[in-house]
């Protein structure tokens, strides 16, 4: 019963929106905005037309989805490690931040498409370049949020650690990291979805497989149901990945008093 109401609560808005879209698209009959049912058909045609032994997944899934996902997760993983490590360092050292801050801000403001020529020089076309694009794009939310988190460790806790002469590694892993963790997770959540975006961007150049390139191809061929099917796939992937990350987060932040439903800002009366 409770599970059912939870499910309803979670999906009812979504369902309503889809319904509204269906009706609106039906009335408007605009080729750019096909009806969700049409999109669903196109999606099923694209990905679920395979034989039974592959769980009905079609070749497209293995040819495009799997490599894309691999690149995506690898890129995001690299960005997470680099972003958290660098962020902790920069967040705890004002001096390092002063030296590196402007250059990082500068780099952060460079649009990835402008960097394509440079990346082409530095990396080979294909996976390494796509990884570079993804990492370069999704690093920033993790980095900035980690810096912020590391910087705002409660001063009493900092002093406590200093007084007990906590060794550096233990201080970073045992104090800075946990107290920055909520902010880091905010960054990870943002960048996980962003990595899907950048996966598509990275497939603008130099690939012949991947869901991003398929999406853009459909777009260029004015195959709007196909393009929307790609968009929906991104949405599904985004939702799934974020659900997994959220589960991880709930586990990592289990110590927080607020977990389970009620947020501190909630005023119940």
């Amino acid at each position: 019963m409770r599970a059912l109401s939870g499910f309803l609560q979670r999906w009812v808005v979504f369902g309503c929106l889809v319904l509204v879209w269906e009706v609106a698209a039906f009335l408007a009959d605009d080729p750019f905005f096909p009806r969700p049912t049409v999109i669903a058909e196109a999606a099923a045609e694209l990905w679920l037309s395979g034989p039974a032994e592959t769980l009905f997944l079609s070749d497209v899934v293995f040819e495009h989805l799997v490599p894309s996902l691999t690149r995506l997760l690898t890129g995001w993983g690299i960005a997470a490690v680099v972003g958290v490590a660098l962020g902790l360092a920069l967040g705890r050292s004002a001096r390092a931040m002063e030296y590196a801050g402007p250059v990082l801000t500068f780099m952060r403001s460079i649009p990835p498409p402008a960097l394509v020529p440079v990346f082409l020089l530095l990396f080979n076309i294909g996976t390494s370049m796509q990884l570079a694009t993804i990492v370069f794009g999704v690093l920033w939310p993790i980095l900035l949020n980690t810096v912020d988190g590391a910087r705002s460790v409660d001063s009493t806790k900092t002093e406590t650690s200093e007084v007990f002469r906590i060794p550096r590694a233990q201080w970073v892993l045992g104090v800075v990291l946990p107290s920055a963790a909520p902010k880091i997770f905010a960054g990870l959540r943002v960048s996980l979805s962003l990595s899907l975006v950048l996966m598509v961007v990275s497939e603008l150049v130099g690939t012949d497989n991947g869901i991003g390139s398929q999406l853009l191809l459909a777009q260029r061929q004015f195959d709007f149901p196909g393009m929307w099917a790609g968009i929906v796939l991104l949405g599904v992937l985004g939702y799934t990945l974020n659900t997994v990350l959220l589960a991880l987060e709930n586990r990592a932040l289990a110590w927080q008093p607020k977990r389970e439903g009620r947020t501190p800002a909630t005023v119940e009366d």
Binding site: D30, I125, V205, S213, R220, Q221
Partner: protein, 317 residues
Amino acid sequence: GLLGGSSEDGSASDGGTSTAPGQVEKSKIKLGLLNILDVASVHIAIKKGYFKEEGLEIEPVIIQGGAAAIPGLISGSIDITFGNWVSYFAAESQGAAKDKGGLKLISDGYQAKSDMFVIVAAPDSGIKSPKDLDGKTIAINTYKNIAELTAKATLEANDVDPSKVKFKELGFPDMEAAVKNKSVDAAFMVEPFIARSHRGSGFTTVLDAASGPTNDIPIGGYATTGDFASKNPNSVAAFQRAMAKGQKEAQDRSVVEPVLQDYAKIDKDTATLVHFGEYPTSLEASRLQRVADLMLTYQLLKEKFDVTPMIVSGSAG
């Protein structure tokens, strides 16, 4: 396909008869353009005042890449646009502009000639002849477009199995670096990149993609929506007349070169080396139908597509 093209051809070649038969409905035309060689004729026509003579004021809107052109037409932020035929046919076959009366083609723009659609390779790559491209990776600017079509057709004509060749999408400006970097084995280039790569890196031409089955293949032209064409027939006709003059002038290399340096920011040395295509003065359904048929062959279209209904012939004779 001698429907309207030849009559328009005739009127345009008279030249200079500025007795406009009807008042233009809309004098200010927002014209979508790309900064490429293909639209040199427009710039010539603007410079020489051909549009003004017809009572038109052209406001160029620079668009990057074809993805923006047709949506731009549909949204009304541009009135007429340059684009490639493949995109027009694909869009029309999907009914992209059906709310706006479909797409209408109003003027031819650019057509391939030899040495302007070529596959190049680095001198040390060992790729000398079309045969050497078998199983190799070739950079093209966009999948499922004119480049891929012509490349496949000519490869097939040279006994290379096009399904064995891998294509990778890369912007023209990035191709030279990618070839040097050995990220790809060869690249499908257009001017001015061909000239630049020949001159700068000593690349050699392996295969002319506008030869044999694709000899003189049409590339792109000017289109508008059905709604615009039916509401502004005089403006469209005026545009067609001015374009015809511009197209004609563009045949002369010495006229185009300086214009190129101007709008496409191509340096003088490169400009003198560039191989130009054809700037046809008439819009002929039969020629465009070749493109549609090629698209069908390589599955860019699902069924046979007749281009004739898309063509708006010059009304002024």
